[in-house]
Amino acid sequence: MIVVLLALPFAGAMLAPLVRGDRAARWFGVAVTAMTFAVSLTLLSGIGGPVRGTVDARHAIDVPWIPALGVRFHVGVDGVSLPLVLLTTLLCLLSAIYTLTALPAPGKAPLLTCVVLATEVGMLGTFVALDLVLFFVFFEVVLLPMYVLIAVWGGPGGRAAALKFVLYTLLGSVLVLVGIGTVYAATGSVDVVALSGRGGAGIAHGTQVAAFLALFAGFAVKAPLYPLHTWLPDAHTEAPTVGSVLLAGVLLKMGTYGLVRVAVPILPDGARAIAPAMAVLAVAGIVVGSLNCLVQRDVKRLIAYSSVGHMGFVLLGIATLTPTGINAALLANIAHGIITGLLFFAVGAVKDRYHTADLPTLGSGLMARLPVLGGLLLVGSVASLGLPGLAGFWGEAFVLLSAFQPASGLPGSLFTALLVVAGVGAALTAAYFLRLLRMLVTGPDVSAAAAETSGGVGVVADANRVELLAWLPLVLLAVAIGLYPKLVLGLTEAPVRALMGVFGS
């Protein structure tokens, strides 16, 4: 089934440029992503039951690929990767649906569909790969279509932002490759399952630290970890709506997934050595990201910076090197994908309607003008600020919980101090989202006054049916996971415990 999962969007990406007409191409995209989503759902059937080994991949396929180097086409899913696979296929489907009603300029739907599907192949491949070289290949495959997506369909600064994105993440990729090379040099293996099972046995401490540092730095660019985050606000601000959704919803998760799947279990000693620094930077990201949000004028840039803060929580969870922390990080990952996906859809729709993302220009009272769109922004914002009962809360709460008791060997008092600072960051998160809501969503409708003075923006329509179809699944998921986080934790808990067995507990 996993081969089908990858082959469907791949074939779709190959065929999409051949489809004639914008309408047909967009429907083609919906059909392919819908089928891929359906296939990803069937993977659920093999998940569950007792976990055997450190990585118990189901639906696995393992065939030789580059025999000379011992590289194999080894793929499979477990409870750690499946939630991300499902998130990817869902967000791709919703993006395709959304494109039905809002095709970003300059059109070219066949090419757009091709690019989105190519991105999907790379993202899914990254999450299912169980061979380090294969992982790296898929990790790289994502870059090019994403570059095209931002450069072609992006705003006026799209090309520059896309270039920055590509160069920056390419730099990260180089480091990842160096890390993989070092692991291969030390062990002669690139098999994730085997290497996780070894738990770093036979790799000298210094080598582990060096390799982990390389992998960590590479993944940190992608995640992004402070201070390697500055490509993100530019890329998000210029990217078209679907680009932002996929970027925030899935791409950032490739970095944190890489840490959980590759770096931490294969190089536990290296992880232990770097974890305190990682935790400090993660918390710095939470605070700096939130502070930046407090003064942003551009609403897309604001949401982008909020991602820096949220991913800081994810990285803090990973840095505790405990099952609780990793579980929390994976849950926060998924929640962030859902909620920030929703927020980028909503602010993208606002930008498309008013042709600006500048908060003072947009003015307050969106709720009075467009109650549905305003309501969605409200839901997305309160979910993102971590309202208990919605998805964003649990992951971040459990990250804080795990920081109370990091893995043995890590400085407990440092983590306690960090979690208090992270708590302050959580309060700041509430502050900037409430500021956003006050400037944009609640309050008196100023458009009437603005229309009289500036010639007006004309009548703007509220969310249409297609948009609702693309967005409501995210709202429902945010509520469902918020009330019953076991939906995700039930999948991740057992595999994470097995994965983290090497750290004791």
Partner: protein
């Protein structure tokens, strides 16, 4: 019984979901929305009667739980219900006050186009409060706890055209949220050391916890309590919250939100009792808040703001009682306060509705035109001031007596100085309470109308507004009867000391008498004018705590945020761009070529890195 406890919050929750669906259809759905809201809360109110009746006879708590969030470690979070006498009684109170508010709102917001949204949000608010009351899991309790914060945000901002409404809503959410971060950390700390989030198990583990952990955890939780229950220094949101519709004030001040903070302290009291430092801090906070609230209430011009500051001050009685170990007295005051404060707010709403303003400097002489409202306000005021036989007299006396007992070292684990502190502040506040209530009654209902036009149009409200008010008046007058059975249900004791009662009645008489004499001298002027302009201005501004908060917290944070943004742009990203530029220059130098296009650049980087990797492999 656990089944009822599951269903109770669900009824208003479902009503809220249906109501939000109706709200999309706009004002046309008003009638249906009203019926849905009344049915949701009404059925819960009916169901709460057998629940409470059964709960008070329970020997031990009854609970049921479903796991919703395994953490991957030893801890797990469950959706659970915990029914004991306290939960049963408070749930009953919440349901009936909420029902009164729902019915009252049908008429009060009779011409409001957004009534359906409002009614749905009130239902959600009620559901969230019931979830807090009945939750048996500390972390799951946070769901209801913070959904209430969200509802207060939405409802305070209901009149979106009012300039003061959006900032007031933001402030309510943000200030309580700041406290909630402390609450969350406290709960996590408690859970991590007790190895459980279940309330009964946490309390059972209290004796085995180290004093340091207990003190830290309870102090953090107290931060959340201070936010929700509007205690110094996180009380500043409550007076501003008056920008919301009046029924909401009644709901927030009586049955939900502010009551939740006190309720959690009572719920977790064994943990607090084991942390003497926390009790001391709570006593100081309560004493400061009590007097501050009473003083500020004296200086307000708007009826609703007087009542808001009075809530701040009365909640401090409950917190103070909890701090000196008088748990039953605290719960008692929570219940009577719910009745008389809801009554006073709904009566104030009738004044606003009838006379068109709540500003006392524009009112006066309303008792002729609104006799019913006048008399129910008198009943509420007597209860609030603590004049027997109104309910507040009994609950307040039992709080004071609890403090008196603690002051004499009769409460184990409570330092006598905290008892003296709460007692002194409590008695001073009795005096202030009598003064501000007398001022409110005199300036609103007696004397002559200051704006005859407004007074002339004043009228009594219709039945949907009057009946809930009358029912609450009966409760406010009569809840003193609980003095007997409450200790039996909740455990603990309620004592009323005759000497202390005489002292506080003398203080009531003094406060009311002085205010009356000042008013008598010039009925048109403000009785507090003799305090001088500087002092009255300070009282009206709540002794400038707000201003201090602005200067010490809000502005520094904004300045740091601007700094961080600049640093991010100039330093962090500057370094990135600088590296890029340097690389390009180096590239030009080396290749003596033009800037390569991205593809070539990328290829170069990939090829280079592969070479590095190969080199590593070869040289190992």
């Amino acid at each position: 019984m656990t089944r009822t406890a599951w269903v109770l919050p669900l009824l208003p929750f479902v009503a809220a979901l249906v109501g939000l669906g109706l709200a999309i259809r706009g004002p046309a759905a008003r009638r249906v929305a009203a019926i849905v809201a009344a049915l949701g809360t009404g059925s819960a109110a009916v169901l709460a009667i057998p629940l409470a009746a059964g709960a008070v006879r329970l020997a031990g708590p009854v609970q049921a739980a479903v796991e919703i969030a395994p953490t991957g470690g030893a801890l797990t979070v469950s959706a659970s219900t915990l029914v004991d006498p306290l939960a049963g009684i408070v749930a009953l109170m919440v349901c009936w006050v909420a029902l009164a508010v729902q019915l009252y709102s049908v008429e009060y917001l009779g011409t409001d186009a957004r009534y359906p949204t409002f009614a749905a949000e009130v239902s959600l608010f009620t559901a969230a409060m019931l979830a807090v009351v009945l939750s048996g899991d500390l972390l799951a309790l946070l769901i209801g706890w913070e959904v209430m914060g969200l509802c207060s945000y939405l409802l305070i901002g209901h009149y979106r055209e009012l300039p003061e409404a959006p900032p007031a809503a933001l402030k309510a959410f943000l200030v309580t949220r700041v406290g909630d971060v402390g609450f969350l950390l406290g709960v996590l700390l408690l859970g991590r050391h007790a190895h459980t989030f279940r309330i009964t198990e946490v309390l059972a583990a209290v004796p085995s916890l180290s004093p340091g952990v207990l003190t830290a955890a309870t102090l953090l939780i107290a931060l959340g309590v201070a936010g929700k229950s509007a205690q110094f220094p996180l009380h500043t949101w409550l007076p501003d919250a008056m920008a919301g519709p009046t029924p909401i004030s009644a709901l927030i001040h009586a049955a939900t939100m502010v009551a939740a903070g006190i309720y959690v302290v009572l719920r977790l009291h064994p943990a607090f009792a084991a942390a003497p430092t926390t009790l001391g801090v709570l006593a100081v906070v309560a004493a400061v808040t009590m007097v501050l609230g009473g003083l500020a209430a004296l200086g307000q011009d708007d009826i609703k703001r007087v009542l808001a500051w009075s809530t701040v001050s009365q909640l401090a009685y409950m917190l103070g009682a909890a701090a000196v170990g008088a748990v039953t007295a605290s719960a008692f005051h929570l219940l009577t306060h719910a009745a008389f404060k809801a009554l006073l707010f709904l009566a104030a709403g009738a004044v606003l509705h009838g006379a068109g303003t709540g500003s006392m400097s524009r009112l006066g002489g309303l008792r002729h035109r609104m006799p019913v409202t006048f008399w129910v306000t008198v009943v509420g005021a007597l209860a609030l001031a603590g004049v027997p036989p109104a309910s507040g007299a009994f609950s307040k006396e039992s709080v004071l007596d609890g403090a008196y007992a603690a002051a004499h070292g009769e409460v184990p684990g409570v330092a006598p100085w905290t008892g003296w502190l709460v007692l002194a502040a409590g008695l001073l506040t009795v005096l202030l309470t009598a003064a501000y209530l007398t001022r409110l009654l005199l300036r609103t209902f007696l004397g002559v109308a200051r704006e005859p036009a407004a007074a002339g149009a004043a009228h009594e409200p219709g039945r949907l507004m009057s009946w809930p008010v009358l029912a609450l008046a009966v409760a406010a007058a009569g809840l003193g009867v609980l003095t007997g059975p409450l200790p039996r249900w909740l455990g603990g004791s309620l004592r009323l000391d005759a000497g202390l009662t005489v002292v506080s009645l003398l203080l009531v008489a003094t406060g009311a008498g002085v205010t009356y004499l000042q008013w008598r001298a010039d009925p048109a002027a403000d009785p507090i004018r003799r305090l001088g302009p500087r002092l009255t201005a300070a009282l009206a501004a709540g002794l400038y705590v707000d201003r201090a908060q602005q200067a010490l917290v809000v502005r520094p944070v904004q300045a740091v945020a601007r700094l961080a943004s600049t640093a991010d742009r100039e330093v962090v990203d500057g370094a990135v761009r600088g590296t890029g530029r340097a690389t390009v220059r180096l590239g030009r130098l080396l290749a003596r070529a033009q800037l390569p296009d991205v593809q070539r650049y990328a290829t170069g980087v990939v090829v280079g890195s592969i070479l590095v990797a190969v080199a590593v492999v070869v040289t190992r």
